[in-house]
């Protein structure tokens, strides 16, 4: 537990992703079994401990000091686990618990014994160990490590590809003895469990200059739909829905899950629709905003299911009734997919249509005409491409629609983190609107990418030379610098003062030449909203 505490403590303060990786890999290499398996479970969010209620912890805190002092402490620290770890006075001789002892101890404990159990452990650890234990118990680590990053560390630790981990991950329980035996070369690679995730095949972005070199006849084109990529795995009446990184998201989409009464593995785009598919008609896709309301939910209300019904637009068939189709070329899989859907009709599913084209010019024209917000661009897939996990260059390309752009005025700048901590690298920008006293700027978004290192230096200097006000780490700058901002879409938003929210804004060009007064107005941005 103590070593796990030290790991969490270093992760909290380490801003750089690669350094975080290095810390986790080092821990996995040096920590014993089964502790490291439980640590991995904690980092991936797979550890489901019977949580001690905050009230239990507050009572423990009050018993260490008194109610008033603990309340003042909690108020100051702002984090229950840390406040309790710091005020803890109790001490008793004896070894600190290992991570495994904590996990198995909590799982086996009766509710009435939990408080005593925690007390004994806390008495035997230092403040860092106590903090880590309480973080585990309260269920939120918040050390800036995603499940994907933890799995990447596991892959590095075992010198295997991340895909392999993702493929084997699902359905396995902490402390993952079989995975560790395999990764430490003490046992053969375990078999994927039933309903396992298959690593997605991903596409490379297409450089416009490359396109002339590709033989058009070898490629199939389809729309790149703007939802979230999912894999549907179903077998014998059981089903799972996986997102890109192999995370299971079935719980958020019971409407899709209920429709998965087949034995197959499908690749598709999860969308929210206005109208389900009927006959050969495609379902009518709703705005991405509506899909967002369905994401990251542990429970879904009937009202939500009715207002924002989910739908999957199918791209590919990876497995049909136990037959692995991934080693077959795309054209064959496509024919099988079409036949499969005909045999399993369901208004929740439709087929992402192929777009016929003769040459690249024709396809470019089709792409330029596409106005629907549901379309992010085009996918190009070689007819002979096998389904291989990961992002291999050559068989599949994505040809995104040109982004939307506006000219906006920089209003605030904030310092970055890690290597960028001495640079003002995050910019809030605004557009003009009519205020009570004439034209005024209203912030419409924030961007921190899209510029070169040399431009970052220029921007940093400009911010420092044109600062009007400072608010902690934020500087308000003079009105004077215009940026051309590229973004994928813009939506209505109640949470923003401007009433709009941009998707993935990034800086396309610095317009040192353009007078701020000539930057775009808010109405221009509002006109780009497609409901």
């Amino acid at each position: 537990m103590q070593r796990f505490g030290e790991l969490l403590d270093s992760l909290v303060f380490q801003p750089a992703r690669n350094e975080k990786l290095r810390l986790i890999v080092h821990y996995l290499k040096t920590a014993p079994d089964p502790d490291r398996g439980y640590a991995l479970a904690a980092l991936t969010g797979a550890l489901d401990l019977p949580n001690a209620k905050p009230a239990v912890l507050r009572a423990l805190g009050a018993a260490q000091t008194d109610e008033v002092l603990f309340a003042l402490s909690y108020d100051y620290v702002g984090d229950l686990a840390e406040a309790l770890a710091l005020v803890w006075r109790g001490h008793e001789a004896g070894p600190a618990p290992t991570l495994s002892e904590v996990v198995t101890g909590l799982e086996g404990a009766a509710v009435k014994d939990v408080s005593d159990l925690i007390t004994r452990w806390l008495n035997r650890m230092d403040a860092t160990g106590r903090w880590a234990l309480l973080k585990l118990i309260t269920g939120e680590l918040r050390v800036g490590v995603s499940a994907r990053l933890a799995k990447t560390a596991l892959a590095q630790f075992g010198a295997v590809a991340l895909d392999e981990i993702e493929q084997l991950w699902h359905g396995r329980e902490p402390p993952y003895a079989d995975l560790f035996l395999w990764l430490t070369k003490q046992a053969a690679r375990p078999h994927p469990l039933n309903l396992a995730f298959r690593p997605f095949m991903l596409a490379h972005p297409l450089e416009e200059s490359e396109i002339a070199l590709l033989p058009a006849a070898d490629f199939r084109a389809e729309w790149k739909w703007d939802g979230i990529r999912v894999q549907l795995v179903a077998e014998n009446g059981q089903g799972r829905i996986y997102s890109r990184g192999g995370e299971e998201i079935s719980k958020a989409f019971p409407d899709i899950l209920a429709a998965m009464n087949f034995s197959a593995v499908l690749d598709g785009e999860l969308l929210v629709v206005e109208k389900p598919a009927a006959g050969n008609e495609l379902a009518e896709v709703a705005s991405f905003n509506k899909l967002q309301q369905r994401l990251n939910r542990k429970t879904v209300t009937p009202k939500m299911l009715e207002q924002n019904p989910a739908h999957v637009r199918l791209y590919d068939l990876l497995d049909d009734n136990g037959e692995d189709l991934r080693p077959f070329p795309f054209d064959e899989r496509r024919a099988r997919l079409e036949a499969w859907l005909e045999a399993h009709p369901n208004p929740r599913f439709d087929l992402s249509p192929l777009i016929p084209f003769q040459d690249w010019d024709e396809l470019a024209a089709i792409r330029a005409r596409a106005r629907s917000e549901a379309i992010e661009g085009l996918m190009l897939k070689r007819g002979d491409s096998l389904y291989t996990g990961g992002r291999v260059k050559g068989p599949w390309y994505k040809w995104k629609r040109d982004p939307l752009t506006i000219d906006a005025v920089v209003m605030y700048a904030q310092r970055g983190h890690g290597k960028r901590s001495s640079f003002y690298s995050d910019y809030t920008f605004g557009c003009w609107r009519d205020g009570e006293n004439g034209p005024e700027l209203v912030p419409v978004g924030k961007a921190y990418s899209g510029f070169t290192d040399a431009e970052l230096k220029q921007l940093d200097k400009w911010v420092r030379d044109h600062t009007k006000n400072r608010f902690g780490p934020v500087r308000e700058v003079e009105i004077g610098l215009v940026m051309e901002v590229a973004f994928d879409a813009v939506q209505r938003s109640n949470r923003h003062k401007s009433g709009v929210a941009m998707r993935f804004p990034r800086i396309k060009r610095l317009r040192w030449d353009k007078p701020a007064a000539e930057a775009d107005r808010l109405e221009t941005l509002q006109a780009m909203i497609v409901d």
């Binding site: 909290v12 002092l69 310092r415 940093d460």
Partner: protein, 339 residues
């Protein structure tokens, strides 16, 4: 003559705590006729007073910061040497906070009141240790007046810094330190744990460090990064004021690990706010246990709490049946300066 309780002669005014029978302010926040200064930190020692009474070290620090003519008249008093100021006998006692820091002992009307100034109880190689003295009224600071603050041993924190330097030999280590006190103490602690390499100092730290050295504090070899190629600074230890931690100045250093030495580093959210990758809990103030212990040591019948989180300490003292109240001094609330 009956004893005169301190609340009748020690008053909180707009400029700060005022001793009426001595006609002097303690650490006033605005220019006054007569000031007694506990120590040289900027929120306590200001320029422009008529008459200043302080320890010789504090007077020297003020001279470095504000020039020799920062007050019309400067009087120094050694620790333990009583001085008559008006009708009050004033004695300065070591507070253990920084070099020259003092508690102000006031004897008047048969009563003894002590204003602690900022203080700590841990050993500090750069200054004299806090000297507890029995008194009727103790005016205590409460910078770290919450039970969450219990400072670890200095040696533990220095070891963490040295471990990190061993772990990242190709990077520089940049430690944010307050210019007066923390900077020199950190250097001394490093020397005590065997670190012998030159320590690189940001320009803003040099004047006061020079003063410490001239007053007999051994800090070992120091150097400047001026003109050094970044490669030569791999593995170097560089100290700078906290405000310079994320400044353009740091771009000259090879991929620096940013550390910060302060008592505030105890709380992770605070440390992250400062952008510290390596928070070192090194405090020049008493922690919670030491605040309570000090009240016990001086056996004061009454305690006024100021300068920090008064509420918790007052609450804890009242529970211990010590007469206590918060004393709000202008300009001192939520002061999170040099800690």
């Amino acid at each position: 003559m009956p004893n005169i309780p301190p609340e009748r002669w020690l008053k909180s005014t707009e400029a700060g705590l005022y001793c009426e029978p001595g006609r002097f302010h303690i650490d006033p926040s605005a220019p006054v006729e007569h000031a007694v200064i506990t120590h040289g930190h900027a929120d306590h020692a200001r320029a422009g007073h008529g008459h200043v009474l302080a320890t010789p070290e504090t007077a020297a620090i003020m001279a470095v910061r504000y020039g020799n003519d920062h007050a019309a008249r400067i009087q120094t008093a050694k620790y333990g040497a009583p001085i008559q100021v008006g009708d009050v006998t004033v004695t300065l006692l070591p507070a253990g906070h920084i070099l020259g820091s003092a508690q102000v002992v006031m004897e008047y009307g048969g009563m003894r009141a002590i204003v602690s100034g900022d203080f700590k109880r841990r050993r500090d190689p750069t200054c004299a240790a806090f000297a507890p003295m029995q008194c009727d009224l103790f005016v205590s600071e409460a910078t770290f007046g919450l039970p969450v603050f219990r400072h670890p041993a200095d040696t533990h924190e220095i070891a963490r810094l040295l471990e990190s330097m061993a772990l990242y030999p190709e990077r520089a280590h940049l430690v944010g330190v307050y210019a007066l006190g923390k900077c020199q103490r950190l250097m001394c602690l490093l020397r005590e744990s065997g670190y012998q390499q030159p320590i690189y100092l940001h320009g803003a730290l040099r004047a006061l460090t020079g003063l410490y050295v001239s007053l007999g504090v051994e800090v070992g070899p120091i150097a400047s990064i001026e003109g050094m190629p970044p490669d030569a600074l791999k593995g170097a230890l560089v100290l700078c004021p906290p405000a310079a931690l994320a400044d353009r100045w740091t771009r000259r250093l090879p991929d620096p690990v940013r550390a910060m030495a302060s008592g505030w580093m105890q709380v992770r959210a605070r440390a992250r706010q400062q952008g510290a990758e390596l928070p070192l809990i090194l405090s020049d103030h008493a922690d919670w246990d030491e605040l309570l212990q000090t009240v016990e040591d001086v056996q004061a019948g009454e305690v006024w709490v100021t300068h920090g989180r008064e509420e918790a300490l007052v609450h804890a003292l009242l529970k211990r049946s010590v007469k206590a109240r918060a004393l709000h001094i202008a300009g001192r609330d939520e002061d999170e300066g040099e800690a």
